[in-house]
Symmetry: none
Subunit: 125 residues, 4 copies
């Protein structure tokens, strides 16, 4: 999980996105413990303050909950997590299609490109 951050966007936002993805992908389970601020700071080689800010924001979003003394957990609201996953996917797809169409790619070309690279489109044929 060595990550290099885009120096042009706030690190705490990129951390938030990473954690959202981990939760949406099920790497962090609903109700499961989130690594401590210190652990995350070491893991991602960033300042603990930055981790702190990211986690606080995610808490505000309702994705994380803190337990007095026992650190933070992912929300156990499974429905919320499903919504998150769908929302993140929608964002990606919208952005991707928007950008590719802006570049002048047609649906047919998009299919070809995706097929070339990852075999998408001839999956189970």
């Amino acid at each position: 999980m060595r990550i290099e951050f885009d120096p042009n966007t706030p690190i705490y936002l990129q951390l938030m996105q990473l954690i959202r993805q981990a939760a949406a992908a099920g790497q962090l389970l609903p109700g499961g413990k989130v690594p401590s601020v210190r652990e995350l700071a070491v893991e991602y080689a960033v300042n603990p303050n930055t981790v702190q800010k990211a986690l606080a924001e995610l808490e505000r979003e309702g994705l994380l909950v803190t337990e007095r003394t026992a650190g933070r957990r992912i929300t156990d609201d499974v429905e919320k997590i499903n919504q998150l996953r769908a929302e993140l996917a929608r964002q990606q797809i919208d952005h991707f299609a928007g950008q590719m169409l802006a570049l002048g790619f047609e649906r047919k070309q998009l299919l070809e490109l995706l097929t070339e690279k990852w075999g998408i489109g001839n999956g189970h044929h």
Copy 2:
């Protein structure tokens, strides 16, 4: 062409990307004139200095050339523009696939989602 910028990334980088896309998509033709700094500034409702910085960077990249007092043009190096378009597309595809796989989507699901939204994959067959 009303655009709203992502407040979390420098505007000049977003301007650069917009212009790269316009050039790659053929909206700005090789050898064609680029709107003046002042025009772009009013069009995108940003400060002329910000436009200036974006254009200067693109010039350093070789996408634009300036003619002393006669404004800027897109490079007439068509090959360079083709490379740019391919590179931009590759970036989008890589990023998209990376994010979607990180969210736990499989190739098959990806295909379905794309098909749902834009009919990719069942084009004219």
Copy 3:
């Protein structure tokens, strides 16, 4: 280090040259810290933005590296700095000889002039 800038060339270019020289002459050591933007701005009595532009350019050249929030350093690539010194010297020599020859000075006269002023040529012989 009071400097007066040539009003006919951009200040940021003159700043770049000053810093290049300081690095080449060893006044700024490889890997050593560069004064902050704000410090340089007051030292040279110019706007911080102007310093910023100069340093950003030098960074693009590879002479400087920035450490997120810990200021800038001279590259620790000693070879690069040696090359820089040689290049700067070459430029000066070429320019000097070109100008003096254009003024109709012969090699012999050049030698005499230099000898007169700084004793070059009769060093310790």
Copy 4:
């Protein structure tokens, strides 16, 4: 005499310097005719306005004089031209030595470098 101008200093100043040098070096003789604005503009591929400005400045300096209808001539004040030549040489030498010393070169090294490149110093030995 194909010249490429430094884009970072006003062209008219560079033109002035070229003409000063030509006069100091004797390529343009005291009392001799100076090419017309149009001719110079073509020769140096610059705007006639720019040439005009350069010549007007040189006139103000006393290096050039205009004759009603017959164009411009170099001043016939030979002493003035000699002074000019000495002054230009002095500037070059001062600047050169200042820069090289700033780069940390010693007199001995300077001599070696000059000798290497143009044989200065072993002229008539």
